[in-house]
């Protein structure tokens, strides 16, 4: 497969965005490195870039949280604008507080013209990211890993979010009915429960199939060496429903689920929750070189696992959209040992995607001299790093 054409961010302008009062930065390389002390605004910079695509960006923040606090004047209207070079030529994307509008709202502009929805944005800009917050994924509850997986699916299949929401809605209704049964002692209407279980089965199987499909595609990309010299990983979806889909057609799985839920109403009423279903799915990560599950991996190996998954996801997006997404890697290098770091740098250089890396220790990025362009962040400024000139 020929490499997908890349999407390049060539200029970023910020106004009153988080810690940045004003910034204009020009980027000329396929790999951009931003170093600086803690609190220098490096992550804010990546967040601003992530907000030029659809969604709430890499912190999942609300629009009002993005405003810079003025000196004694409270939060200010903010703006972030990017100039991109894509497979179809150059274009400008702007986002921020709508003119004269409330801080809680966020407006979008494409080449200066207002964009009504984010769907048009998704066709032009895509970004994937890795942040230190994601390191907790291995210790967190299964629900966090499930949400992580659902976000990966959603980036490729936008209606996945609706299937998950519809499933959750129907399950909440079933739980409420069963809770009433327990509280009031009256039997809930079995036809009503059956109708809810039917909705759960339909949406739940659709969601499970989408998760299963994405995990298979990620694993295939990882198996064919998408990460280059960087250690690969394998994802394992722990979900009875997804597993059943491997052995039986979707309609049969739906029927089996309905029968299972119908038979377990008493148990679920006593538990106060639906105990089985695709909402119990968990995502496992295996570090491939050693066939080691993530829980047994070191912090650095866990980081490497996430990097591999993010690289594979970026490759899938490139296949689906026809252009490679931006890669935003926040504080990734510091957790990796020198061989892994160099493997990562080599993998990034081989990708058609433009990547942005941050770190506190500029020395770690020395191997990228001649490949990457460096900046130093501090004091509200972003200045070119003499050690990493534009290649």
């Amino acid at each position: 497969m020929p490499p997908a054409p890349s999407l390049r961010l060539t200029r970023l302008r910020l106004r009153d965005f988080r810690s940045w009062a004003a910034l204009t930065a020009r980027f000329g390389a396929g790999i951009v490195v931003v170093t600086g002390e803690n609190g220098a605004g490096k992550t804010n910079l990546l967040e601003a870039i992530s907000l030029l695509g659809p969604g709430r960006g890499l912190r999942g923040a609300r629009a009002a949280e993005l405003a810079r606090q003025g000196d004694g004047e409270g939060p200010l209207p903010w703006a972030a604008a990017g100039r991109f070079e894509g497979p179809w030529g150059g274009f400008d994307i702007g986002t921020g507080t709508p003119e004269g509008g409330p801080l809680a709202r966020r407006a979008f502009r494409l080449d200066g013209l207002p964009l009504r929805g984010q769907a048009d944005l998704a066709e032009r800009v895509a970004a994937v990211w890795l942040t230190p917050q994601m390191d907790r994924l291995f210790q967190d509850a299964a629900s966090d890993r499930r949400r992580f997986l659902d976000r990966l699916v959603w980036a490729l299949e936008p209606h996945h979010a609706r299937e998950v929401a519809a499933y959750d809605h129907a399950m909440a209704q079933r739980n409420r009915l069963l809770a009433g049964e327990r509280r009031e002692g009256a039997r809930a209407d079995p036809a009503w429960l059956a109708a809810l279980e039917e909705a759960m089965a339909r949406h739940g199987v659709a969601a499970a199939a989408a998760r299963r499909g994405l995990v298979a595609r990620l694993n295939a990309a990882l198996a064919r060496g998408i990460t280059g010299a960087f250690p690969a990983a394998r994802l394992e979806l722990a979900c009875a429903v997804s597993a059943a889909l491997g052995a039986a057609p979707a309609l049969a799985v739906e029927e089996g689920l309905r029968a299972e839920w119908a038979a377990s109403r008493g148990r679920d009423a006593a538990a106060g929750a639906t105990l089985a279903g695709p909402h119990r799915a968990d995502l496992g990560f295996v570090h491939l070189p050693r066939e080691l599950p993530a829980a047994l991996c070191s912090t650095g190996e866990q980081k490497a696992l996430l990097v591999a998954v993010v690289l594979a996801h970026a490759a899938l997006i490139a296949e689906a959209r026809g252009f490679a997404p931006l890669l935003l890697l926040d504080e990734v290098a510091a957790h990796l040992d020198a061989p892994r770091r160099e493997a990562l740098f080599a993998a990034l250089a081989a990708l058609p995607a433009q990547s942005f890396l941050t770190g506190t220790d500029a020395a770690l990025f020395a191997p990228l001299r001649g490949v990457a362009e460096g900046f130093r962040a501090g004091g509200g400024q972003l200045v070119p790093d003499a050690d990493l000139p534009v290649p």
Binding site: R162, Q173, W192, A195, E198, A199
Partner: protein, 199 residues
């Protein structure tokens, strides 16, 4: 809102409570009416009084009409073997405007929602089952909203109607007439593709 002795403000306040009207448009309507009270306000007041006194829910289908049973239920040209179930009167009126349904209706009065505290006993489910059990009905069309609650309600009704030996159908989901494909959401597009038919 504070009680006011000012008849204009009182009227504006009452109108502004109506759906689709804010205070600004209510004030505009009141001002227009006050220009010619004899020609607009008094006939309106009379019409409101007459409607309030005469209009009742139809005891058969739940439609709102000055006659009971309503004009649809009394119409001898209507196909009595066909009942179309709708969530509310607004949907019934929409179907009537489309002139697409030649049978009778049944207004459910909502959709099932355990979280919203709406159960089968809060909806006109028993009256529907009774109508079908009386005989003469061959098909029940479920014209309910395409939401999770709407689909759940449709499934519930199907379950309750099936023992009565009646044919149950639901509205198709797909491409709107005059609509382009590229602006459709993925869910609708997938449903339309699934429900494709031979030409």
């Amino acid at each position: 809102m504070a009680q006011t002795d000012d008849p204009i403000e009182h009227l504006v306040g009452l109108l502004a409570k109506l759906p689709g009207l804010g205070r600004r448009s209510a004030r505009r309507a009141v001002l227009r009416m006050l220009m010619r009270p004899g020609e607009t306000m008094l006939p309106l007041a009379e019409a409101l009084r007459r409607a309030a006194e005469a209009v009742r829910p139809c005891r058969v289908c739940g439609n709102l009409d000055a006659e009971d049973p309503c004009h649809v239920c009394r119409d001898p040209r209507r196909d009595r073997s066909l009942i179309c179930v709708v969530e509310g009167v607004a949907d019934l009126w929409a179907l009537e405007r489309a002139h697409a349904h030649r049978g009778l209706y049944h207004v459910l009065g909502g959709t099932l929602s355990a979280l919203g505290g709406v159960g089968p006993e809060d909806l006109a489910v028993q009256p529907l089952l009774a109508r079908v059990a009386e005989g003469g009905v061959e098909e029940v069309i479920l014209a309910l909203p395409a939401t999770v609650d709407g689909a759940t309600t449709a499934h519930y009704l199907t379950d309750r109607l099936r023992p009565l030996g009646v044919r149950v159908t639901r509205l198709a989901q797909g491409v709107p007439i005059g609509g382009a494909l590229d602006v459709l959401d993925e869910g609708t597009l997938a449903a339309a593709l699934q429900a494709r038919r031979a030409v």
